[in-house]
Symmetry: none
Subunit: 199 residues, 4 copies
DNA sequence: GATGAATGAGGATTCATTCAT
DNA sequence: AATGAATGAATCCTCATTCAT
């Protein structure tokens, strides 16, 4: 209901540094101890700031996570936009491969962090801005699929995203680190899904 | 570390009824309010028993969830065994379709419950018995794949399971109810994954 | 206030056996886990009876301890009476030595049990019958002291009892097992106390 | 296992006041209702702080008691050191009298509190710092005894301490308030114990 | 802006005791 | 007589959040 936004925009450098430290602390705790270990006192302590300062920038515990998720999804959108632009003129298979690879970029950059955050995301109500980002990611994928003549593009976009996230999750949990190989396997499934129109 | 098991075996009928009521209450709460709403007082109240009774059988909140997960994964194993036995002599495609469909049976029986439980499962440490069940599910899938000459069967089993669970999760969350259609889409991806050996 | 007594006199052999098993279980738990570990469910389980049966004989947890303490103090009174009768005609020193030794008989018979029980006794309100036993023990000591011309015999009896119990407690806690040596040391103190009238 | 220590050092004056209020409240409750009445909610309420504040400084109920005991034993050590320094050159008897009197100083300052705390101490596992304080008290007594040529000084120190504590306990419980008289009686026993080498 | 002490509702868990079978 | 399932008050403890300094 109530939008979860920043309570106050950090203008000064110090303030922005505190904000970042808070998010990094939250990420570290999330990775090490899971969602159950994430509490504002711990975050503040690890971040090296006081609880008061934390609440100066984030109105609630969820707001921290929400911002981290927004950050991750925003980066993912950028990754996908870059990939889409690079696929100008490619065929479906090449396009899918590029998009899938781009979908894993945030995992590549920080496997443990991305995994922990996606896991936490599942248990959280989605805020408006994140919903917007996800909608834009969906629209991007839908657009690409439609350009290649895929019917039921919305359904396909949902399926492919879910498949990608599910397989990535499992792979990272299993300790895999070769994201190219993973992207290859996901792409095979995605292409199979898209090309077997005659199901 | 410590196995999460029943604290005391219910011997009398009344006791078994209490146990069941507790699990059903937990399921209901999980569906309606998510993992965050699941607390022992609420479970006991919804179940119509006292907290004391709850703790007579479950040593902790997690133990209730653990038992529910065990139940679900046990049923899933049975579903898959049934499906595997029915695929005697079928080709890979037919086999995959049957196994994927069987993988969704627990969602079919109780979509909301299965989804909530799988979501909760991700945030919980796995107990030994559940790990065993999952290993047996994995072994079953691996066995089927190997019988059909699939290389890297273990990797494939992990990928297909993750893909199935991810897509099912997303579909149920999106409100889909047609599990045959869903099974079809998952099967297309799975078959694509398995047949494009030349990737 | 309300006298803590047996709820029902056990008449049959089986009943008496249950009563004894309960007290023995309580003793074992007290020794192994301290007063904090003593709870009726645990006692019943160790005793091999149901809680219901326990409450058939003991109206409360305290009642079990109270009976155990009464038993111990009753035995102690008997030990002291025997010792007093044996000191007929002895001088003060010999008398003191015998009485001190007798005061340790219950520790001799069950060092760990006696220590645990005395420790528990300190934290419990005293029931009437135990108060009576202690009064009779006090009177016995006072009588002996008076017969030997000790002034302020009541005061002395209190002091000697406290000294004996304190030193015995510390010795058993320290792992001593030679109760003759201990009795000797206590006797030296006691005799010193009694003979230095000119302090 | 885990040391029972302060969870967080109180830095501000307000915090130190809260800490003190908590310990004073605990002492009051201990005196009035015994160890059984000591619970964190009651302590917080009597102290005029919230439970949360209590747990900010003490990780558990036991930690409060542990700190109180440390305080008491620390004061006792100081009392004994002062007394030992004052006995420079005195003979054994005078020395014993001074040390015994010093051993009662904490009872003198707060008879009810000291008695309740010593009673509670018996039922508690000893933390490392308290063990250290007790060891130093023991070493002090042993040193004094050795300087006066007492054989088996360690044994004697244990016996004299136990005797002193036992007699003091009983005296305070009996309502005695004349600690000089009490010290005199204890000293008689102690001197008797020490001088009757010919046991 | 920052601090950290304080709050207290919320939730987990235990255990003495009762009572239907 | 015995059983053991059920009760629920009592207690422990956490943690999101506020606010005086």
């Amino acid at each position: 209901m109530t939008e979860i936004i920043l309570r106050k925009q950090p203008r000064q450098a110090r303030a922005r540094a505190s904000c970042a430290a808070i998010r990094e602390a939250a990420a570290r705790i999330l990775v090490q101890g899971g969602a159950g270990a994430l509490n504002t006192n711990a975050v503040a302590e690890v971040a090296g700031v006081s609880v008061g300062t934390l609440y100066q920038y984030y109105p609630s515990k969820e707001a921290i996570l929400a911002e981290m998720i927004r950050e991750m999804r925003g980066a993912m959108l950028a990754d996908l936009e870059r990939a889409r632009d690079a696929t100008e003129g490619s065929d479906l298979r090449a396009t899918v491969r590029l998009l899938v690879a781009a979908s894993l970029d945030h995992h590549r950059r920080d496997p443990a962090g991305a995994e922990a955050l996606e896991r936490a995301e599942a248990a959280l109500p989605m805020d408006g801005e994140t919903a917007d980002l996800k909608a834009r990611i969906g629209a991007l994928v839908i657009g690409v699929l439609q350009r290649h003549g895929i019917a039921a593009a919305a359904q396909a976009a949902q399926d492919l995203s879910a498949m990608t996230q599910g397989m990535a999750q499992a792979a990272v949990t299993a300790g895999e680190a070769d994201f190219d190989a993973l992207a290859g396997r996901i792409s095979r499934a995605a292409i199979g899904y898209l090309e077997s129109g005659c199901n």
